[in-house]
Symmetry: C3
Subunit: 305 residues, 3 copies
């Protein structure tokens, strides 16, 4: 089975065969990034527009490197500071840019579903680079690729996701994706940051880290947004850290080959301790490398159709 | 007749043959934008610097796409946020960048005449991408190309420009250009927003939209800058809209093949209604596509000399 | 002797032969910038990341043009406005970007020694584009290249550096570099802006401009940061200008072939008068041109190893 869609909007609506195909493509393209000449002419003459309505250097740079290593031309519209949006609707912005004949839009927006709406209204491809609290499919794909490289499989693994589940599109995309691929997913966080509908998604919920760490093959640590405190969802960073920080002490009860992952950027000392982030179980920088590979695969596959 | 100038500063000083040559070149290059590989090596190794002293995502992106589709390397200096201008004159900034051997500067500046001053002081080509309330030549050229594509001619057409004529470089460049090409131009707007010298430019003035719509082959709707209200030039947006919004009702008396144009970004419901903007007469997105084509032509012709 | 280092961190630790090699390479590559097609494929498929923790359009653009003329792909991370640094250490930012396999980082940081710390922690090359009050090696190299082109030698020349020596990384890199190459360096400025350790670096100190101008073969005028006034290091700009502005009057006692240099951007009328900046002794724009050439040489040599 291939991947013949116009868009990559989320993990929820992908078939297993499609995920496998993207991951396989990423493994093939990944090698380009370690060559002396890190560039292939595959997307020469293709136009990729990064349309970011939320600030992001990390994800945008990863997509940008992916696009340029395939020889695409790229343009960055940072909508927060951009005049393109003054008194203009999201759809007008899209339609205007579309009239300049881009091939692919990479879109980040604070409203869940924004990329889906745009995808219905344009012939260009839309890649969802994060929409509200909904999905961040390329993050889940790079996480799956990283697990696959280290564990050789996704099927039958126990994956634990720790932190602010409610507000995390990374968590949602991973829950959908990992379960499709046969993993069992447990989420763990304070009650105020675990949404009531999470069990309907198929994930197990656990509130005490000590109980779920021993079974985990993989622990995905989420970034804690410090503004959750002002929203009264957290008593204090210190109390969060006391209960949920992934540190060396807590990992004593973990499997000897547990993988520690984090989508970045890390708050060292809050959700993860430095000795764990930089320790032997951490594959956090592999995730970043795989991010470029997965995004190369996504851009490549969308441009082929 | 060709186009052998060093600079494109305005429409006012162009010959008819030069305008025709640019438009013809744009028609030829336009096709590149719909190829699978949207890139030709024409400007390979040329350096284009976008020097923008006013914020602009739309025009800058259009020029940038035009330059890269011709394989030029581009650099963007957003002077509003740039350290390059701290304690430095406009001319020092130009001279410094010039010492790095660019071929073309695309300049936007709030002072009328700024690009002309720069053009006299550099051997590089200057393209005026908008200077104060003076000229925006690439906008007029793309408007003319769009009319030409839809009407087959410019000669003998009645073009109506509606809105804030006083502050509009789009209006000025179009009045000069369209009249050179044989169109008759009428402007319509509130008395506070129509300058007294407009008839000296050759345009007819009309204050009641109902009177001038029936004769129009083309209606160019200008963007209303909302800050005109604070300047006491407008009673209210609502009153403006009541008198000057181009909506379906008003178009009932228009020619059956009238063209509706807008330089963007639109204030839907203020100067143009959504049903008109998205309706069958609207060629607004064609303007955007032609913007890239015209800018490709301009960059190409300037780089040839 | 060649240049086989991983990084260019400063002038202080370079050998004479290494400086000569970079300057020789710059002279060879400089010619590319005046070709019709200003681009060679030397760094095709190489990735250069500009990581700027201080605002800079001028230096960043110079490095960017240098990189693209050699066909590298470039990415700009302006850390002041970037989400990449929110709650993230400098080292985490580096490590994350490193995982995307760049070849060269061009780094500017307000902390002296920051590029050196990064260089020890990455296999990628680090170019110091200015660190605190410490070094700005590419500036000293372009200054040396400019002097060499006009004087035919560095050995035995008297170079006078005027202004705020204390806060100037340009002064420090030049003092180290010029003395290595056989020049004698004198610094001149108000006592509050000349550091006590400057004589330990080998430079002569002079407080009255009139005394040191007659002997100078080259005068490097430093930019005066206006904020020095609020720091109580300067009585007033006017008094500074009265005592230290390089103007036509003062140059009457200078050598007939004196060179006037300035790293830019200039405060005309403060540290340099317009008639001197634009006059026959000024080689200020040659410095800018040589900046691109020197940076091409540095990027080229680092990428070869």
């Amino acid at each position: 089975m291939g991947f013949n869609r116009k868009d990559l909007l989320g993990i929820q609506d992908l078939e297993v065969g499609e995920i496998e195909h993207i991951l396989e493509q990423a493994r093939i393209l990944k090698e380009i990034n370690t060559r002396a000449i890190k560039k292939v002419p595959t997307l020469r003459g293709k136009t990729v527009v990064h349309l970011f309505y939320e600030p992001s250097t990390r994800t945008r740079t990863s997509f940008d490197i992916a696009a340029k290593r395939l020889s695409a031309d790229t343009y960055s519209i940072a909508a927060s500071t951009s005049s393109i949006v003054k008194g203009e609707t999201l759809l007008d912005t899209l339609k205007n840019l579309e009239a300049m004949h881009p091939d692919i839009f990479v879109v980040r927006h604070s409203a869940s579903g924004a990329p889906h709406m745009l995808a219905r209204r344009t012939d260009a491809s839309i890649v969802n680079a994060g929409d509200g609290m909904h999905e961040h499919p390329s993050q889940a794909l790079l996480d799956m690729l990283t697990i696959l490289e280290h564990k050789g499989r996704l099927d039958g693994l126990n994956v634990l996701i720790v932190g602010d589940i409610t507000h995390s599109r990374v968590a949602r995309s991973n829950i959908w994706g990992l379960q499709k691929m046969g993993s069992k997913v447990t989420v763990c966080g304070p009650t105020t940051l675990v949404p009531p509908d999470i069990e309907a998604m198929g994930a197990k919920v656990c509130y005490r880290l000590e109980e779920c760490i021993p079974d985990a093959d993989v622990i995905i640590v989420l970034r804690l947004q410090k503004e959750r405190q002002q929203q009264m969802l957290l008593p204090s960073l210190r109390e969060y850290s006391t209960c949920y920080c992934i540190n060396r002490d807590r990992l004593k009860k973990a499997a000897r080959d547990v993988l520690i992952m984090h989508p970045g950027p890390m708050n060292r000392g809050v959700e993860i301790s430095s000795e764990v982030a930089d320790g032997p179980y951490s594959v956090i920088l592999d995730q970043v490398s795989n991010g470029v590979a997965v995004r190369m695969a996504v851009l490549y596959l969308l441009a082929q159709r």
